[in-house]
Symmetry: C2
């Protein structure tokens, strides 16, 4: 299902009120008697130290990822339709977000997670919010398939996965915020997992262009992890359909997905925007996470920095010029996955508190 939105002729950024996702409520399809919100969206667009690069830091959302933007709309929709039980398959971020919004709405939630493959921060969030956690052996895709089947069999359960079009309605506000703040960049880099987000952002820009608010749309660049890159490989090899990956593997657990349900939408967004896709190795992701933290001061989880790693690769491969205006979407907070952070090396020494100066003088004398 795709939702088509035509902005009212009166739409203008200067007339909007409030902040975050619901600032753009005129643009969000559906009517909501009651909105379930935790003040998601309105995330910072952080200017990089060099060039015309901006980082859209989605880690600043309530549960630490962009998922909250979609969840406020989907959960509001579930509540308005009278559902009491919701379900989602997840690699972790959807789980954390769905659990938070369900808790706020008073809904019961079941989360289907791949056993032992979810970053610790995310599973801890699901626990804190009181979800029922159903673990399955295998990858996210096994859980996704189970949710699709259940949803068809049991109409009483509302599905929160990204085939749910209301989620994409919320996520598209990333584009609205970028356009309101800096108009239209040349490129937008987006990590691609289940592949809804790149489509949602493209949809947002397209709606604004169709309404004459902006005069063009950015080229959308999808970035996947090499071990889970069916869409990026299809684009690179100029194929019309992706070859799904049976056993996806990457340290970027949030995009460890072999059969993205939204692949058609993602490929449409990439093609119609004259964009492209790249894939990056796990070691490129690890390096990118460290570089982003140590030069820009920004901490993002591995799947998030895939977009930054993809940007670096696109520069290397001449796909993007260094002087281009670029937005890199950082989808989730570094705190989601402390184990990945701790892999960066740092000096860590036990010291005598009475003689801290010895360490510092030692460093200075060594010319460090």
């Amino acid at each position: 299902m795709e939702i088509s939105v035509k902005l009212p002729p009166s739409f203008s950024f200067s007339k909007l009120k409030g902040r975050g996702v619901w600032r753009y409520s005129e643009a969000i399809a559906g009517n909501y008697r009651k909105v379930i919100t935790i003040n998601e969206g309105g995330t910072p667009l952080i200017k990089g130290k060099v060039g015309e690069v901006y980082y859209k830091f989605e880690g600043a959302n309530p549960t630490g990822s962009f998922k909250d933007r979609g969840m406020t709309v989907a959960i509001s929709s579930a509540v308005n339709e009278g559902y009491k039980i919701v379900i989602a398959a997840s690699t972790g971020n959807t789980a954390a977000s769905a659990a938070a919004y369900s808790a706020r709405a008073g809904l019961r939630i079941y989360l289907v997670l791949p056993k032992d493959k979810v970053a610790i921060g995310k599973i801890a969030q699901a626990v804190l919010y009181g979800a029922t956690i159903l673990e399955v052996e295998g990858s996210f895709d096994v859980g996704m398939k189970a949710v699709m089947k259940l949803y068809k069999d049991m109409g009483i359960v509302y599905p929160l996965n990204s085939f749910n079009p209301w989620r994409l309605e919320g996520q598209k506000t990333i584009a609205y915020e970028i356009a309101e703040e800096i108009r239209v960049p040349d490129f937008v880099f987006v990590p691609v997992g289940n592949a809804g987000n790149i489509y949602a952002i493209w949809k947002g820009f397209t709606e604004l262009r169709d309404a004459g608010i902006i005069d063009k749309i950015p080229r959308m660049i999808g970035v996947q992890a090499e071990g889970a890159s069916p869409i990026a490989k299809a684009i690179v090899n100029n194929l019309d359909t992706p070859q799904f990956v049976e056993n996806p593997e990457t340290i970027a657990t949030a995009i460890r997905i072999g059969k993205p349900v939204n692949w058609r939408k993602a490929m449409k967004a990439i093609k119609e925007s004259q964009g492209t896709a790249v894939y990056v190795s796990d070691s490129e992701i690890v390096e990118a996470q460290k570089e982003l933290a140590r030069t820009e001061g920004i901490g993002a989880e591995p799947a998030s920095v895939a977009s930054f790693a993809g940007y670096k690769k696109a520069i290397q491969e001449g796909l993007v010029d260094k002087s281009s205006e670029v937005v890199i979407v950082l989808t989730g907070h570094a705190l989601k996955d402390p184990d990945s952070m701790i892999k960066s090396s740092a000096r860590r020494i036990l010291v005598n508190p009475d003689h801290l100066e010895n360490v510092i003088l030692g460093d200075l004398n060594a010319g460090n």
Copy 2:
């Protein structure tokens, strides 16, 4: 050292531009050739589901705590004064924040941390940002003393602890944001560790009142963890000076401080605002964290939810009326401390993905 700020007569919320801490640059003491910012501040004020309660969610800052507000000012100050090396003792959040801003500024940073007493998310952040981590046996207070001594001995090292008045200049913007959004609440609840933040927030409100922008200031309520509550006990027992705690103990590691350096400032803020203080047990903190997550959908770390636990206690004890307008400052993100979240119980079961419906039907038949 205290910094006195008098707002210019022309100050008006309606004339301000931008978002976050530097939106209030007219109110921030000091001149900055160059500002080191990661778009901190501008955090959501989330309306509670019941009554006139608002949660100021500082977890939405770049490194996940309110510390970023002060760090942008202190690091900008260090850079403008020409320092190349910075240091901070920390229970973890200051460390993460200082490391991020130092990385962005290109400064070398030493962090003095109590060994084995820092939540995993925070130590992981310090590692990711490439700080040199100096671990000491004992509590935060041991590290704090070491930094004070070093700072006096070695003028080349810039100290980032909260006796640094520039940090408090940044932190006071919490008050500016609250006042701009909802004017003046009756009470503001703040967790108290090293005790700078409650003073900073009070200072912000006081500056606005002195300039005639608001007509009163809220009553400031400090909340400490029972095992580390020298200030709260002094206030409760009507003493002029706190009795320091030699071996502070609490699961709320961010406020596990026995000798708060800013105790004078904190007690001044509490007394001059006609506020008070309360202390809460670890089990009240654990319960508050779970309740906040499961009713409001908000995830905050244990030290943060001390303020919510303190609010509940203040209601019980008749210190605050249920109908009062209250802001509860949640200082850090739940993701800072996944171990604390995971202690909340949740159902977690291994399931057959082909028969998810069995679990759900089982629950429904059991009347759950």
